[in-house]
């Protein structure tokens, strides 16, 4: 029997299935780029978008350094915008290189998940 899916264990390699943790980590970069496809968002918005649109629940302590890394790699750009709350927010947006990277990763993902689904089809039948 496969282990039950633990959505909240992206950050704790010791407490969950290591393979699943690695899988989620590997997808996180694409997931973040995808949330920004529709336009600029700030950190907390990205977190909430990930939470509502996918099972990818990420801790803040993981996501902010990752955003900073994606920016250093030239995939994201950022700007400060004043908010009503009085504190400025750091908005992130995809750069042209970031869009390119997101498209490439999405294409790879589709190919990969397509072949995995075909490969796993017999397992699905066996379960039923």
């Amino acid at each position: 029997m496969p282990a039950p899916i633990k959505a909240r264990q992206v950050d704790e390699p010791d407490s969950g299935d290591k393979w699943e943790v690695q899988l989620r980590k590997g997808c996180l970069e694409l997931a973040i780029l995808a949330t920004l496809w529709g336009g600029k968002l700030y950190g907390l918005e990205i977190l909430r978008r990930l939470e509502s649109d996918s099972a990818l629940i990420v801790s803040e302590g993981t996501m902010y350094p990752l955003l900073s890394r994606l920016k250093a790699l030239g995939l994201l750009q950022s700007e400060w915008v004043e908010s009503e709350g009085g504190h400025p927010r750091k908005y992130y947006a995809l750069t042209p290189a970031g869009k390119q990277r997101a498209l490439e990763m999405a294409a790879t993902w589709s190919r990969f998940s397509g072949s995995m689904s075909r490969l796993l089809a017999p397992l699905g039948k066996a379960k039923r």
Binding site: K25, G43, S59, E60, G61, Y64, P65, A72, H87, K90
Partner: protein, 203 residues
């Protein structure tokens, strides 16, 4: 936010700032400001303590930023001194960094010795060079000598004056090879990281 909450948040951010030493000041300011904004917004709908808990310990959080910033800078440097300085910091953060530092120090040291021997030879032909000798147990040993002091009485010198061009060649080659290897390790490590690690340990 109460003044107590405010104090708790500022204390956290100060610890983070302290742990981020080595990162450019402008970058540190951005990180701290972004997290302050995040904590303020989260704490508005809950409490500061849970917002801080979700971020993890300030040192652990800083470690995630640090490794990336360090490796990015190290990957862009060609000077052995700057590279070693970055590696020293990386070594304090992860085991992989420690081994790369160890290898690099060894490579630079050996390269440096060869270059020094070659440079000293014209001035101290008796003292600088490579000798083979037999030690008391009869095993064959090789000794590299440079600088002042007495010439090794026993043993046969290898290479002679050839040590000057060969030493320079091998020494410079070793230094270049070490730089390339270290940069290769850094870029491989950066690519292999799907995420900025877990701070202090490799996964």
């Amino acid at each position: 936010m109460t003044s107590n909450d405010s104090r708790t948040m500022n204390a956290y951010l100060e610890r983070l700032r302290g742990a981020l030493r080595g990162v450019d000041e402008s970058e540190v300011r951005e990180i701290v400001q972004e997290l302050r904004s995040h904590i303020l917004e989260k704490a508005a709908g809950g409490d500061v303590d849970s917002a801080l808990a979700a971020l993890g310990g300030p040192e652990e959080l800083a470690g995630r930023y640090l490794t990336d910033s360090l490796l990015a800078r190290a990957a862009g440097s060609r000077s052995p001194v700057r590279l070693l300085r970055s590696l020293l910091r990386w070594a304090s953060l992860s085991l992989a960094g420690f081994f790369v530092l160890l290898g690099s120090v060894l490579g630079y040291f050996l390269g440096g010795v060869f270059i020094l021997v070659a440079l000293c030879k014209p001035f101290h032909p008796q003292n600088a060079g490579i000798w083979t000798y037999r030690d008391t147990a009869g095993d064959l040993g090789i000794s590299v000598r440079l600088g002042y002091g007495n010439a090794p009485g026993v043993g046969a010198e290898l290479l002679g004056w050839w040590i000057v061009p060969l030493g320079l060649l091998v020494g410079c080659g070793l230094v270049m090879l070490t730089t390339h290897s270290a940069l290769w390790c850094i870029s491989t490590y950066r690519k292999s990281r799907a995420l900025p690690g877990s701070g202090t340990e490799d996964e």
